[in-house]
Symmetry: C2
Subunit: 526 residues, 2 copies
């Protein structure tokens, strides 16, 4: 028996104990070409035992490329599952977000057909049957199964509800290798229009659902015990750049409070992942704002610091994505301190426009790059190479009260410490448009774009955000583009389509975006 309770104690619907199987015994259920739905979200709460057993099976029997699946999961899952599956050529379609070197390689070499979508839309559309009319097998990690066959999630809710709506068969992984998360979730499977109900959330910790997702017991084909923990990432370190960005944002918040446009405890915070997000959370832990709340997608280790600072009253998210060390052990040891203040919600609600706009979230995310008109690229490096996916950035950036993107102004390449500018004349791929962003920030400064017309926006971004190494280059382009288009009466938002990507082309060919001039690209034409 586990120190956290036996399988028998976790499975309170006793008839299901007849369906207990080993992960290896589940392998036979899977056939090439099946549509699979997993629990899990940014790697928290995903099934591990069965996916690992399936990978072992494929590897041992040299079935690479002969057992390929379509994977529908709330977001990324641990590398020991999807990334290993990618190396074993076990993935055909993959929606809507992923992490891992090998899966990214498969996607960008054309072997894996990945698609991404705003996560709130992915969740509901999956339930509507837009991706596949049915899920052949669902694999759901749970803390417990209730007497009436309710599935109590673990560290995330993801798209469990929508998967269950369209799943033919369900395999349950009961995780007895960690405490039960029962009571932390607010489970609800939204109805399909025209019967969809209001989500009556008026503060971050309001609850509108129940503690488990109802599941038809006849669909359950196996119950598997698992002791695998989430392989969460340790958080990125802060650096001087991130701290400078966080400083600009703290200053901005203070100014907005003074102007009467933000209350003294701000509004519910949504924060992406990474070093800048961590620096912002760090800034808040040390800052003047109290009684903060969080309404976001993913809670990471730094949120524990913010709770410990006494300044955070409540947090809502789709997943508790702590690091394997030291995050989860710290959380489990101080359960009572954190658990009551956290609500884990289904993706279809954590990211729904309705509560985000009603609560008035402050949305903060890091793009790959943004351009001088504030179009942002969140997904495709160089305009074509997928990193992870869109995630929920668009859900929050479109619906927040304040919509902020932050990025270092430059990144190094192998040959040039200032080889890449993250503020470009024209983004080669666009996930968020100029109509979505209010504020962009780099370590150079913060540009408040609210109410600015495109050319005013461009000048403000150049003045405030562009690195000094790039300021004359981008200013020259902007001046040239204005001159050429305004003269022709086509200059609302000037661009020159024979030159707008010259910096990106130079990067691909010469390892830096610092171009010498804006002459039309004869060298690239030859």
């Amino acid at each position: 028996m586990s120190e956290f309770g036996s399988l028998e104690s976790r499975v309170r619907r006793k008839a299901l104990l007849d369906k207990v199987k080993s992960p290896e015994e589940c392998v036979e259920f899977f056939k090439d070409g099946m549509d699979l739905g997993w629990s899990g979200f940014t790697p928290a709460g995903y099934p591990k035992a069965v996916p690992i057993a399936l990978a072992d099976h494929v590897e041992k029997n040299n079935l690479q490329g002969k057992m390929k699946f379509n994977l529908f999961i709330g977001a990324s899952v641990g590398a020991e599952t999807e990334d290993r599956w990618a190396t074993l050529d076990m993935i055909d379609r993959r929606w809507p977000y992923q992490t891992g070197k090998n899966i990214a390689k498969g996607i960008n070499e054309g072997r894996i057909r990945m698609g991404d979508k705003h996560l709130s839309l992915f969740a509901q559309d999956l339930g509507y049957g837009f991706y596949t009319p049915k899920i052949d097998i669902a694999i759901i990690e749970v803390s417990a199964i209730t007497e009436d066959c309710g599935l109590v999630p673990t560290s995330s809710c993801g798209v469990i509800g929508e998967i269950l709506m369209i799943a033919d068969k369900v395999i349950i992984e009961v995780n007895t290798g960690q405490p039960s998360f029962e009571g932390m979730h607010d489970c609800l499977i939204p109805q399909t229009p025209p019967n969809r109900q209001p989500f009556l959330i008026s503060s971050s910790n309001d609850r509108i659902g129940t503690s488990a997702f109802p599941c038809d017991p006849d669909k359950i084909i196996a119950v598997v015990e698992s002791k695998h923990r989430d392989k969460g990432r340790a958080f990125a370190d802060m650096d001087a750049t991130s701290e400078a960005i966080a400083g600009h944002i703290m200053q901005f918040f203070g100014d907005e409070v003074k102007a009467g446009r933000l209350p003294e405890n701000l509004l519910p915070l949504q924060s992406g992942v990474g070093s800048i997000a961590n620096a912002v959370v760090g800034g808040l832990a040390q800052g003047p704002f109290k009684n903060l709340t969080v309404f976001t997608e993913v809670l990471q280790d730094t949120m524990l610091d913010l709770f410990d600072s006494g300044k955070l009253d409540a947090a809502s998210a789709c997943s508790l994505s702590l690091s394997e060390e030291p995050g989860f052990p710290r959380f489990f040891e101080n359960w009572d301190k954190y658990a009551d203040k956290i609500v884990l919600r289904p993706l279809s609600i954590s990211n729904a426009p309705e509560p985000i706009r009603r609560l008035g979230c402050i949305a903060m995310n890091t793009p790959v790059e943004f351009d001088m008109y504030a179009h942002a690229n969140s997904t495709l490096v160089g305009g074509t190479r997928m990193i992870n996916g869109l995630g929920g950035s668009g859900d929050f950036l479109r619906n927040g009260y304040l919509k902020i993107m932050h990025s270092p102004s430059v990144r190094p390449t192998k040959t040039d410490p200032y080889g890449i500018t993250c503020v470009v004349p024209k983004a080669p791929h666009i996930d968020h448009t100029e109509h979505d962003l209010d504020v962009v920030v780099t370590e150079q400064g913060l540009a408040d774009l609210r109410g600015l017309a495109p050319k005013d926006r461009a000048q403000t971004i150049i003045d405030k955000c562009v690195h000094p190494e790039y300021k004359p280059i981008i200013q020259e382009y902007f001046d040239m583009a204005k001159k050429e288009t305004l003269a022709k009466g086509i200059g609302h938002e000037p661009q020159l389509f024979d030159r707008c990507f010259k910096m990106q082309q130079n990067l691909a060919q010469n390892g830096t975006m610092r171009i010498k001039n804006w002459d039309i690209n004869i060298d690239l034409c030859e």
Copy 2:
């Protein structure tokens, strides 16, 4: 006294009769540089008497360029106001949408600083003070003023509520030249977060507000009688192309009903403006679907036909934008037939993600162009020249149950009947991304993109939507882009940045997008 009731009968708050002025007497209130907020929406319900008097004043006294204003209005207003103001150099900033040759000229030549935003965001952000901390003078057209100083709108609600939140002074135009619209509106001024309330709309004709917008009587500086009617556009004729597109959409709706993904009476329809939208509404009037509902932004003449067909049960919109002839006379003569079935809402609610997503609207809009990955350009011809603005397309396309864009596959230029393809390799400006659209349609066919990865999406769009004159050209580009990027492991969404805009450049230089080859553009480099 007007045949529709006297000014005295319309102004039920009698103390305000002391503030009755002529439009000319109001001119003195206006100073150069002021921020003005008007009622009105796509030209319905906008003030006319005072703006016309101001224009006359400027023209008569040669004040062009010496009396410039910042205009914040829900959307476009009649040409006799904003477009004439543009010719008189009376506009500095203009948000968020406009119509008219002269205002467009001013914008694209850099004299008028226009900005656009998703209309639902514009509405709320105006009230939050993001565009200007205060409106110096509001000019609001009303049907009546109630005893408790409630403003009863005319043919649109627009952003009256948000303007009143931040207005210093208010001028009221009471329109006695047409019947009162009292009772048709559902007025509500949403609170600012964290106090914003749920919008408990569960069907198109649910009402959650009151019949008038409360106004502080002390802010009212003048009450002006007006008899000007809205200068609404007559609807565009249908043509074979529009009818073919409508046919594909009707077929698709039927298939979705059969597949169980749409109920038999469909879901609330949102439809843009123009000939394709009219053809779709025409198709519905003759089609098999009954008990339809509409939840949209603008109701136009064709909606009267749909009501007359007996197939439309209810319609919600921000404005009733009928034509001056024959739309409004037809509507006024048959008031009882239509009035009970129509709810006019504030823009902040007609376009709010919350009801749009809950009701599950079917969103249909026409872009300037879309590309092979389903990024769409709704605003800037050639990527830089503003037409009208973003409007509410993004509110509906991001939040609808089904997100559809429709366009002819080609448009003529002066020298080539197939000079412009509306399906391009890469859109030169993007307002809606690949993450927002489910379906794209041309007269060639309908591409259902749900669940497709980018390269599968591109092939489907090329196969189904591209005109035969352009199919080999775009296929060649796509094949070439795949080949070059996949080989380098950067081919999730292939593009070639040295060639992706060659068709657009050729159009600018040679009057057609039908290029002879995809060679890197030496001729354009010389």
